[in-house]
Amino acid sequence: MSKRKVLEDKRQKLLTRRNLIKRAGALGGGLLLTGCDTQFYKPPVVRDGLMGVADIMTMASQRMLMSNEQLVQEHDSSEITKNFPVWNQSNPEDEEYQRLRSTNYQDWRLPVTGLINNPISISLSDLKRMPRRSQTTMHICEQGWSAIAEWTGTPLLSVIQAAGGIKPEAKYIMISAYGGWYEGYDMFDVTHPQTILAYGMNGKDLPLGNGAPLRLRVERHCGYKQLKFIKSIEVVSSVENFGRGTGGLNSDYGFHWYAGA
C-alpha cells in the first residue's frame, strides 16, 4: 500500500491541473483521457467474422476498465531483472542504422511528421533535455516470458507537444523502426503518462539488443507493441497506407492490433 501512496504522490507532481489542461490542448483539445470513449473500443481495422467480434469484446471490455489516470504497477529497483532477454530483432541489418550506430547515434534524428502543427526533427540530446520519466515496470511478452527493468525516457506526449500538438483529424500515431518494423497506436495510449520514448535502461543508455538508441514503452501492452530501434513518428488519420493496412506489422501478420492481451 505504501508503494501505491508513493506512486500517487509522484503522479500528483506530474499531473498538476495546469499540466492536464496543457495535455488536452496539445492534442487539439476535446480528447477524452478516460476509457469511456467508444472510439477507443476497436482497432483501426476489424477482422472478419467472429474473430473481429471477439477482438472488439476484448479491447472494449479492457478499455472500459481503464483510464489514463491509472498507472501500471511499478516495481522496486531491487526487483530489476539481470540479463533482461533480448528478443526478436537485436541488431537491424540496415545500412543507415549501422552508419548511425558507428558514430554512437550522434547523427540520429527523430522526425515527427504528419498531422501535426509544427513538424520537427529531434536529436537524442534534444530528447534528453525534454521532460523525463523513469519507471520500473514489467515487460510481458505475448509468448509467455516476463522481466522487469527500469526505463528512462521522454513521455511521447511531450514530444507531440514539442511539435505543436496534433491536428483535429489525427487519430493514430504510426512509429517506424529500423529493420522494417512499424506499429500504430491510438491516442488513448499516446496520452498515457507512462507511454515514453525510452533512451535509458536500468540507469544506462539503452543497450543495442534492447533497441538503441530509442524504443517505445507502452506499458499496458504486450512486448510486440514495444517498438525498438525507433526511426520516425508520423501522426495520421488513417493507417491504410502502411504495409497491408491493418495498423501495424504485427497485425499485418495476423496478431491482434490491441495487445492489452
Binding site: 504497477q73 531483472t81 509467455g144 501492452h221
Partner: protein
C-alpha cells in the same frame, strides 16, 4: 423386441444440452489453442519474472521435446487468436448457463449434496464404489451421486473461475487495471503456471467424466445429453 414400455425420463433441459455442447466445443478449442501457445514457450516459472535461461520449474526439454521441436509444433498466432475467441464463447455460454440454472434452482436441486450424502461413511462408500467401477442399482441412476455432485460444483465454481482469473492475471492491461490481482497470485509467472496446472485438472475431469459416462452406458448417456430423454435401467426394462 421389448414387452414392457421403456422407462423414459426427461433428464436434461434444452438449455442445459445446448450449453453443454457449446462448452464441449469451446473447451476443446481452448485446450488445443492453449497447447499451441504453450509450445511456443515450453517452460514454466514461479514468481514475477521468467524467461529462457531463468530457473524454470518445468521444462518440456526434460520430457524429450526440445525447444526448437516444440516451437515447430506450436502455432502461437493461430493459438492466440482462437484462444481469445473461444474464451469469449465459453464465458458468454457459461454466463447464460449460470443465470438460467440459478433462476431454475438447478444447482440447488440437482447438485447440492444432502447432509446424509456428505457423511464420512457415505463418502467413503461412494469412493470405494467408484474405484471398483461398480454401478448403482435402481433409483440412484436418476440423480447425480455425491462425488459427481461435488466434482461438478468444483469444476463449475472453482476451476472455471480460476481459469478465467488466472488468465486475466497474465494480461499486461491488468498491470494497470488491477495489479492487486497479479500480486494475489504471487506474480505473473505464477499465474501462468497455475493456469496450466488448472487446465491439466480440467483435462483430468474430462477423462473421468468420459470414463464414468461409458460405464453408465454411453449410448443412453449421450442420447440424454442430445435429446434430453434418458432410459432408467435399460437392461432391466427389456428383460423382466
Amino acid at each position: 423386441m421389448t414387452k414392457f414400455p421403456k422407462n423414459w425420463i426427461y433428464r436434461h433441459t434444452l438449455n442445459t444440452r445446448i450449453c453443454h455442447w457449446v462448452m464441449v466445443v469451446s473447451f476443446m478449442y481452448l485446450l488445443y489453442s492453449g497447447i499451441m501457445i504453450f509450445l511456443h514457450f515450453p517452460e514454466l516459472y514461479w514468481g514475477k519474472v521468467g524467461f529462457q535461461g531463468y530457473p524454470a520449474i518445468f521444462k518440456l526439454e526434460d520430457w524429450g521435446i526440445s525447444w526448437e521441436e516444440a516451437e515447430r509444433l506450436g502455432d502461437r498466432r493461430w493459438g492466440r487468436n482462437y484462444h481469445y475467441m473461444f474464451a469469449w464463447i465459453f464465458v458468454v455460454n457459461g454466463f447464460i448457463y449460470l443465470v438460467w440454472n440459478c433462476w431454475q434452482k438447478k444447482f440447488y436441486l440437482k447438485m447440492l449434496p444432502s447432509r446424509e450424502e456428505l457423511t464420512v461413511s457415505n463418502l467413503k462408500n461412494e469412493f470405494v464404489r467408484h474405484l471398483r467401477f461398480r454401478r448403482l442399482k435402481t433409483n440412484g441412476v436418476v440423480g447425480y451421486n455425491v462425488l459427481q455432485k461435488l466434482s461438478y460444483l468444483f469444476v463449475l465454481f472453482v476451476l472455471f473461475p480460476f481459469m478465467l482469473v488466472s488468465g486475466f492475471a497474465q494480461m499486461p492491461a491488468f498491470t494497470a487495471i488491477s495489479p492487486e490481482l497479479i500480486d494475489f497470485f504471487g506474480g505473473r509467472q505464477t499465474a501462468r503456471t497455475l493456469h496450466v496446472i488448472c487446465s491439466a485438472l480440467l483435462v483430468l475431469f474430462v477423462l473421468v467424466h468420459l470414463i464414468e459416462m461409458i460405464l453408465a452406458g454411453a449410448f443412453n448417456q449421450i442420447r440424454s445429453m442430445v435429446l434430453g430423454k434418458y432410459e432408467i435401467n435399460p437392461e432391466e426394462s427389456g428383460e423382466t
